[in-house]
């Protein structure tokens, strides 16, 4: 690990002052320390955000305000989450292990980096890690890679489970700039696609601090499902995952929000797929149509072709479960 300075301020002003001078935030450390050991990331200064009072879950405007430092365990176990947003509780419980969830935080989970093995290997070419160096995944071993939203410069997958459920729930990210100005960014606008700049992953600016995630009021009468398919039954990242929040009225979909993990360069949501369902009666043919539509622009490559039929089957199974 490269040497670095470390600070654990107890107020946000001090954290912002450090961020203005280029310091990087550290929360649970479960991703950043890992990457620093491998020297994939080598910040000169770290600011520990664990003592800034960002660890509460509160009711706000009928929804929930989740502090950026709330751990994945505390969030998954929160009684309001279990009752009103089970899709998110389930997604959190499907991620990592008990030990990691006790450290992993809401803000850190949103900003965790891809698990592409070439990103982790500093001897390999990676446009995300070293812009302009190329992409060793193309022509290399691919399995945990994306088929949606990729470019010729990067095929990395976004690994988060939590963010997938949050996208289906229309969550907002609360961000405090280094000047103290607060703004709310819908998750739809939070992550960038790789294009020719895969190292730019979000729309956050330098020194922006995530202070909370806001969930809108619970969707009334909706059925919520999270299903994750992976190489082993536990403690592995998703090959394909689906978060579904759907409502039926008189036998027809009146509302549908579907988000996907394991498929995209960012947690994936496609408004056209949601729209395709609304007003229709659930049927196998409709579910198959939704799967086809989801993947209409998919770009499978050698090693990731299996994700297409798998995604179609998981989506059908989830919609079946949600509408039974």
């Amino acid at each position: 690990m490269k040497p670095f300075d470390y600070q654990r301020p107890s107020d946000r002003d001090a954290a912002h002052a450090a961020a203005r001078e280029g310091a990087m935030f550290i929360a649970g450390g479960t991703n950043l320390v890992d990457l620093m050991k491998l020297e994939v990331m080598a910040p000169d200064r770290l600011v520990d955000v664990s003592r800034l009072g960002l660890d509460g879950i509160e009711v706000q405007d009928g929804g929930l305000r989740i502090g950026a430092m709330v751990t994945n365990s505390d969030l998954a176990a929160d009684p309001r989450l279990r009752r009103d947003y089970p899709v998110l509780s389930r997604a959190l419980l499907a991620g990592a292990s008990g030990q990691l969830r006790n450290k992993a935080t809401t803000g850190g989970n949103l900003l965790q980096r891809t698990r592409c093995p070439y990103f982790y290997d500093t001897d390999a070419a990676c446009n995300k890690r070293a812009p302009g160096s190329g992409c060793a995944a193309l022509g290399g071993e691919m399995r945990n890679h994306a088929v949606l939203g990729t470019s010729d410069h990067c095929v990395a997958l976004h690994p988060s489970d939590m963010a997938v459920a949050m996208r289906a729930l229309d969550a907002l990210v609360e961000v405090e700039g280094p000047d103290g100005a607060i703004r709310h960014v819908p998750l739809d606008d939070f992550y960038r696609l790789p294009g020719v700049t895969p190292h730019l992953e979000t729309t956050l600016g330098a020194g922006d601090l995530i202070t909370a995630v806001l969930l809108p009021p619970p969707p009334q009468g909706a059925v919520q499902v999270y299903r994750k398919v992976r190489d082993r039954a536990s403690y592995a990242f998703a090959l394909v995952s689906v978060a579904a929040v759907v409502t039926l009225d008189k036998g027809r979909f009146s509302q549908a929000a579907l988000a996907f993990g394991g498929l995209g360069a960012r947690p994936w949501r496609d408004p056209a797929v949601d729209a395709l369902l609304v007003g229709e009666t659930p049927s196998d043919a409709l579910f198959a149509e939704a799967g086809k539509h989801l993947l209409r622009n998919a770009a499978p490559r050698e090693g990731t072709e299996f994700k297409l039929p798998l995604a179609r089957r998981v989506l059908s199974a989830v919609l079946k479960e949600a509408t039974q």
């Binding site: 670095f4 649970g28 450390g29 320390v33 520990d48 664990s50 279990r82 030990q99």
Partner: protein, 177 residues
């Protein structure tokens, strides 16, 4: 950097390089070598310790991040004699080569607290229902510890014995299963 860690009830004032992980501080600076380094990347659970009662991977946490925290290692669980869970590990041969065992014991200790707090898991049918420590629940909740020597049956038996002894609701549900 000045950092105070309370480890197994004793205060340690350390002047520590920020690069040192909690695991390395425990083993190399404080001399508690019970916690093991397996993968060093959060993947195996051998380094599991309890921080303020909760299990975490000590290899992915910097020691300086734990200023003021209360840490329990496998040695701490044995203070005043081996804990009931430690004895059960011995009785059920949940040891094998023993390398991952301290992490398994610390993880199981934290896990049983999570069960008592009613936390659901990925395999719980009902997120809001009472927790029953079935075989599937136990495997899922202990999946952060990858034993290299497949001594799972002994480990499972030891944990279940303690769960059954100390937690009445689990007892009843086991009987009904």
């Amino acid at each position: 950097m000045q950092t105070t860690l309370t480890v197994n009830g004793r205060n340690h004032e350390l002047d520590i390089d920020p690069r040192v992980t909690l695991l390395d501080a425990l083993r190399d600076q404080i001399g508690l070598t019970g916690s093991k380094k397996g993968c060093d990347h959060g993947q195996c659970g051998a380094c599991t310790v309890l921080v303020d009662g909760r299990r975490i991977n000590a290899c992915l946490s910097l020691a300086v991040m734990h200023d003021g925290d209360s840490i329990t290692t496998v040695e701490g669980l044995a203070e005043g004699g081996a804990s009931a869970l430690q004895k059960a590990f011995v009785a059920h041969d949940g040891m094998q080569c023993g390398y991952c065992t301290p992490g398994q014991v610390c993880s199981a200790t934290g896990m049983l607290e999570e069960v008592s707090a009613g936390w659901p898991s990925h395999v719980s049918d009902d997120l809001e229902g009472p927790v029953t420590l079935s075989h599937a629940e136990l495997s899922e909740r202990m999946s952060g510890n990858l034993c290299r020597c497949s001594c799972y049956p002994g480990i499972n038996a030891a944990i279940r014995e303690i769960a059954d002894e100390t937690r009445q609701p689990i007892d009843q549900q086991e009987a009904a299963e």
